[in-house]
């Protein structure tokens, strides 16, 4: 089928088992909400348009607590408004998926034009130390599968997952071939098997991810955004807080290898590596193809998992290359991370755009030829 990126996101969400959506109208993400308003009731799922962005995030967390796979979608200003409750989901370990179809900012910015300027906000938008998973697909088929992975990660690791699209791939249309069932993996949250009386919702377990009971299923427990102990009740005990905070970080960091998703082309023997993600990676791919036709050795590393950051891969590329050229549609956000990780072992450059226009292949080719 020939579909828009936002539509592919909906199809992926439904395939992943999403049965609850709450949202608030905002360009350029509204199609996601509109299509789900039409599709969810047909399968007995729940849809609600809330009174504001904050309310939509709250409703999603409430729904997830009852056991439903839940999602919201928004864009720039709405993403800012949702941050407090995203932190709540991180602290209380409530699975949920937040789609941000990026547009230009700050403030109202460029409502109808594309940007990748929320990539650091996606990492650090809510206050306080926390881990988070952020995914940024580049093509319409990849939006479909990455949305499924967003749900899988949210459920398995009991965490909010941010799916970063942008106006370009959100509104662009491409062919989508729906993968057969045997190519799709679906994960669910761990649920308790113990007696309700023995249940401790934030128990220190070997996996670092304690089982989560559905509200109303007979396991009565307490959930709070305050620092809490294994029983879920607030505590000020520094030792307990230390243990819980370290577990919250560890439960993502120790599973990095399961969370990393990326695409590599021609890294072997390439002295110049393009590093790009989301819609901008499409221009980087085109630039690489054209340059290679001119016999220039250029490779491409395209992370789909942006956070946790693919540190090991970047370290490897930095050791093997002369130049890394980061291509992104912002003033230079991920380039900082690449510089930090590569530790001056290679030359890091930025090719960017922040005026609503996409980064172009010729812009990238020019930079490559300058350093080649």
């Amino acid at each position: 089928m020939f579909v828009q990126g936002n539509h592919a996101c909906v199809l992926g969400a439904l395939r992943a088992g999403c049965r609850f959506f709450a949202g608030y109208p905002i360009t350029p993400s509204s199609e996601i909400m509109e299509i789900l308003a039409s599709e969810l009731p047909k399968i007995g799922g729940k849809f609600i348009q809330m009174e504001d962005e904050i309310a939509a995030m709250g409703a999603v967390i409430g729904a997830s607590l009852t056991g439903l796979k839940a999602m919201t979608a928004t864009s720039g200003p709405g993403f800012s408004l949702k941050q407090e409750n995203i932190g709540y989901a991180a602290m209380a370990e409530i699975p949920c998926v937040v789609v941000n179809v990026q547009r230009g900012g700050p403030s109202t910015g460029l409502p109808t034009q594309s940007s990748q300027a929320d990539v650091q906000q996606a990492r650090w938008g809510t206050h306080g130390d926390h881990e988070i998973i952020v995914l940024a697909p580049s093509t319409i088929p990849e939006i479909y599968t990455t949305t499924i992975w967003a749900f899988n990660y949210a459920e398995r690791f009991r965490t909010p997952v941010i799916l970063l699209l942008d106006e370009i791939i959100g509104h662009m249309r491409e062919m989508l071939k729906i993968p057969p069932d045997d190519e799709i993996e679906l994960w669910d949250r761990p649920r308790p098997e113990c007696e309700p009386g023995d249940y401790r919702p934030y128990q220190m377990v070997d996996t670092d991810i304690p089982p989560m009971a559905d509200f109303g299923s007979g396991y009565r427990y307490h959930v709070t955004g305050l620092c809490h102990d294994e029983t879920g009740f607030p505590t000020n005990d520094p030792q307990i807080i230390d243990r819980v905070m370290r577990r919250l970080t560890r439960k993502i960091s120790r599973y990095r290898d399961q969370i990393y998703r990326s695409r590599e082309s021609n890294l072997e023997g390439s002295e110049i590596v393009l590093f790009s993600y989301g819609s901008t990676a499409r221009a980087a791919k085109q630039a690489m193809d054209l340059l290679r036709r001119e016999k220039l050795n250029v490779g491409l590393f395209r992370p789909v998992t942006i956070w946790p950051f693919p540190e090991e891969q970047v370290r490897k590329i930095a050791r093997a290359s002369r130049h890394i050229i980061v291509c992104e549609a912002n003033m230079g956000q991920i380039v900082r991370e690449v510089e930090r990780i590569s530790c001056s072992q290679t030359n890091v450059h930025l090719v960017n755009s922040m005026n609503g226009e996409p980064v172009t292949p010729s812009q990238i080719m020019e930079q490559v030829k300058e350093v080649y």
């Binding site: 409430g62 509200f215 299923s217 307490h222």
Partner: protein, 271 residues
């Protein structure tokens, strides 16, 4: 003698509320109401935001959720829409419910979603140290209104009524015996219910507003509360400075999650 212990998480006591606070009186009335309705502990969900009243869920043995400031109704909406058979009760305060959470308050009422909201109105932000709230009376003192408040206050019950709540009642901590019946009726109502409870805050409000002690504040409640039937026969001059208590609104209107289930049936059944 009513066995409160059955519904309490006794290991979580002592509670955080100050001596003389009215919040515990409301908590007990809520438990009596739940008991009278013979609800099972597993089907009750108690949701709160941030503030003194919002600590209520921690002490009661149900599915309990302590959310972000002002947002309890949004989480509660997600829960109720997902699992309509659950009995969802929101406990909130005047600041949490009508300032930072004011938007959610009017929209939950407009939707007529089957949630019972118990709003503890103590006219002040207690937990953060006595700042003025949307219900602080004109001229009353607060830590952020050291010369007396120059803002008019919300009438919370009338706000709920105007926004479309199908059950609205007002009680006081002094009239504790009446309170459980009001909450019971609120839970029984299929739709959005508000029970506004006037509670005393001797620490943050009383101290600044010339109440000598808790008893003084309870006397004030007793003297200024007028049952709605009595108020109907009084002139506006006689009602000046007083407030009505009892069931203020009790009407019927289609409820949101019912309408949603009907919508599911409609789109699933080919015409």
């Amino acid at each position: 003698m009513f066995d409160y212990g059955y519904y309490l998480r006794k290991e979580k006591f002592p509670h955080i509320w100050c001596a003389g606070c009215g919040d515990g009186t409301v908590l007990k009335a809520m438990l009596r109401a739940i008991h009278n309705l013979q609800l099972s502990k597993d089907e009750v969900v108690v949701v709160s935001g941030i503030g003194c009243s919002s600590r209520t869920p921690g002490y009661v043995d149900f599915n309990t959720l302590h959310t972000t400031h002002g947002r309890a109704l949004t989480f509660a909406t997600g829960i109720k829409l997902s699992k309509p058979h659950l009995k969802v009760i929101v406990v909130s305060g005047d600041g949490d419910g009508t300032a930072i959470g004011g938007n959610h308050f009017i929209h939950a009422a407009r939707r007529n979603i089957d949630i019972t909201m118990i709003l503890y109105n103590n006219y002040i932000y207690g937990m953060t140290g006595g700042q003025a709230s949307p219900t602080t009376p004109l001229g009353a003192f607060a830590s952020t209104a050291p010369y007396g408040s120059i803002e008019s206050n919300f009438n919370v019950s009338r706000l709920a009524e105007a926004a479309g709540a199908t059950f609205v009642a007002r009680g006081t901590a002094y009239h504790a015996a009446q309170l459980d019946r009001l909450i019971e009726k609120g839970i029984r109502n299929k739709g959005f219910s508000l029970i506004e409870v006037i509670v005393q805050c001797p620490t943050a409000f009383g101290r600044r507003n010339r109440y000598r002690n808790t008893l003084d504040m309870l006397h004030w409640q007793k003297e200024h509360a007028v049952p709605v039937q009595v108020a109907a026969k009084m002139s506006p001059e006689e009602m000046n400075g007083k407030f009505t208590t009892g069931v203020l609104v009790d009407k019927s209107r289609p409820e949101f999650t019912d309408l949603y289930e009907q919508l599911i049936d409609r789109v699933r059944t080919p015409r």
